[in-house]
């Protein structure tokens, strides 16, 4: 490596990226044997539902608001968009609960948990802006009801649920961009840190084998949160 490559910003960024996420971590073809449960499926299902949401939403955006009310094909894609959102939240909540009971933030993975939780929280206003952008009775009722909470919290001053133009912008660009950005960060962190290992068992008396002995020299000594942030 030349001295120029050594010092260049591009070279430094590449080296850091490859060090953090070498190809075998980014696209793994093997996993520790403990990664064997149906609960692991719900992460990739959440991602798949998000892809369907984005794809169906893109088609709806391409054709415009009138299309989904007055054509059969438009209503069909609107229905796909709705059900992909319902599935997204359904599988994401199972994924979240699963990761909670696995305490998946252990071992320096707090940022993985945080990005996952923030994804869930940002997805909620993303869905809400979708509901109030429908231009039907649901949109009228939900927007006029939800405005009070927004106004009471001061959010209504710059986030007006009764303004279709503003809500549509938030729904098709700003909030989806936030969700996708956080999800990408979440996935990269998952790949970087790997799948959290099982708890170490304390009840040897019960005859349950230990999963793996701790190393002679622990890799870290700080508390979870202190190390991971």
């Amino acid at each position: 490596m030349s001295a120029v490559e050594e010092r260049s910003w591009t070279g430094r960024l590449r080296r850091r990226a490859v060090a953090a996420l070498p190809p075998e971590k980014l696209l793994p073809d093997k996993q520790p044997s403990y990664v064997a449960s149906w609960i692991y499926v719900f992460g990739v299902l959440s991602l798949s539902a998000l892809i369907v949401i984005i794809a169906s939403g893109t088609i709806l955006a391409l054709k415009g608001p009138t299309w989904w009310h007055f054509t059969g094909v438009g209503h069909f894609f609107n229905s796909i968009h709705l059900w992909s959102v319902e599935l997204f939240f359904f599988v994401m909540v199972i994924h979240l609960w699963g990761k909670y009971w696995m305490a998946a933030w252990r071992g320096g993975r707090a940022r993985v948990w945080i990005t996952g939780a923030v994804t869930f929280l940002v997805a909620i206003p993303c869905a809400l802006t979708g509901y109030v952008s429908q231009q039907n009775f649901d949109a009228q009722w939900i927007s006029t009801q939800a405005k009070d909470a927004m106004n009471a919290a001061g959010i209504g001053a710059f986030f007006n649920l009764l303004n279709f133009g503003q809500m549509y912008s938030w729904h098709v660009l700003l909030l989806p961009a936030a969700v996708v950005g956080i999800v990408i960060a979440h996935i990269l962190l998952v790949r970087k840190h790997g799948v959290v290992p099982p708890f170490v068992l304390q009840d040897k008396a019960a005859g349950t084998p230990q999963p793996a002995p701790p190393p002679a020299e622990p890799a870290a000594t700080a508390a979870d949160g202190e190390r991971s942030l």
Partner: protein, 318 residues
């Protein structure tokens, strides 16, 4: 094992995994998952479609329930409607909701000014041309002292309690001292029934419109939306906005947010919205920060659901 030791163990177990590995095709898994989700979405769409109830309009409201429309318009005129007394971000009629000394709505001010008397009644009536009697009635109302205006609107609102809708779409109100209001409200009702008020409420400084704040506030002050919502089980006391029309799941992820509105003191508090938002804000922050909250972060270790998740691992030798 101390917390520190557990942390070191968690890191080392993955980094220096001594157990076996299983083959894993991440691309294949993603493709299969995507296929499953697409199939499920298609199946749900074919089986259940999606709700799309037509929106209400001021025109349909004025035609189907003219008494409610005129009653609401009168409260808009004297400022006694929900929007008229709302406060920020629409007007200065009140301080808005608060928690103790925290007045977030008031501090952020009136960002979407709405003068219900002017915007919902007087300005639309001024836009009606070719009716000198109407304009004279508006002049009479505007030039009257506020005490006189209040006397007219109060009497008219009382009279509207016994009003009846006529087959031709007009309303009959018992005789009373209403001043110019019967002329004004009769004209506003006709204007609304013709569809003109829908457009007038959207009028701003430009041709293109996307802001429905005024017509939605006007309709929300009356019964046109809430009556439909009641029939569809969408009222706040019926778990409100987490539902949607028809038998669809709606925004079920809002269950916890909606739950607080069902119980005291929130169900009867005039500051319910800010209180619920504060609670949900704290809980949301708690969700994000679970890894740092003692007790909450330890529950998964104390309640061994993990033995079920990793049962194969615990069954096998190390």
């Amino acid at each position: 094992m101390s917390r520190k030791d557990r942390h070191a163990y968690d890191i080392a177990t993955y980094e220096h995994w001594r157990g076996g590995y299983r083959s894993y095709d991440i691309v294949k898994e993603a493709c299969i998952a995507l296929g499953v989700v697409v199939a499920l979405c298609l199946l749900l769409t074919i089986l259940f479609s999606s709700p799309d109830e037509k929106p209400s309009t001021v025109q349909s409201w004025a035609r189907t329930d003219p008494v409610d429309f005129v009653t609401t318009a009168t409260t808009e005129l004297d400022g006694s409607s929900g929007t008229g007394g709302y406060g920020p971000p629409y007007n200065h009629a009140s301080d808005g909701q608060h928690i103790a000394f925290i007045y977030l709505a008031k501090w952020l001010g009136v960002s979407h000014p709405v003068d219900t008397s002017q915007d919902f009644v007087l300005a639309p009536l001024r836009a009606v041309t070719g009716q000198p009697a109407l304009q004279a009635a508006v002049d009479t109302y505007r030039s009257a002292p506020s005490k006189q205006q209040a006397a007219w609107t109060t009497a008219y609102e009382k009279g509207l309690g016994n009003a009846k809708a006529n087959p031709d779409g007009s309303i009959s109100v018992p005789t009373g001292g209403y001043g110019p209001l019967p002329v004004m409200m009769g004209a506003l009702l006709s204007f609304a029934q013709s569809g003109g008020l829908d457009g007038a409420l959207l009028t701003s400084k430009q041709f293109y419109q996307t802001d429905y704040t005024k017509p939605l506030l006007f309709m929300a002050d009356g019964g046109v939306l809430s009556n439909r919502a009641h029939a569809e089980h969408l009222l706040g006391t019926q778990w409100g906005i987490m539902n949607e029309t028809g038998s669809y799941p709606g925004q079920v992820w809002l269950w916890l947010y909606t739950f607080w509105y069902q119980i005291k003191p929130f169900s009867s508090s005039s500051n319910a919205d800010i209180l619920v938002m504060a609670i949900m804000g704290v809980l949301s922050l708690g969700l994000i920060l679970i890894p740092f909250i003692p007790g909450v972060r330890d529950l998964p270790r104390w309640i061994p659901i993990y033995r079920l998740i990793w049962r194969e691992h615990y069954r096998s030798p190390a």
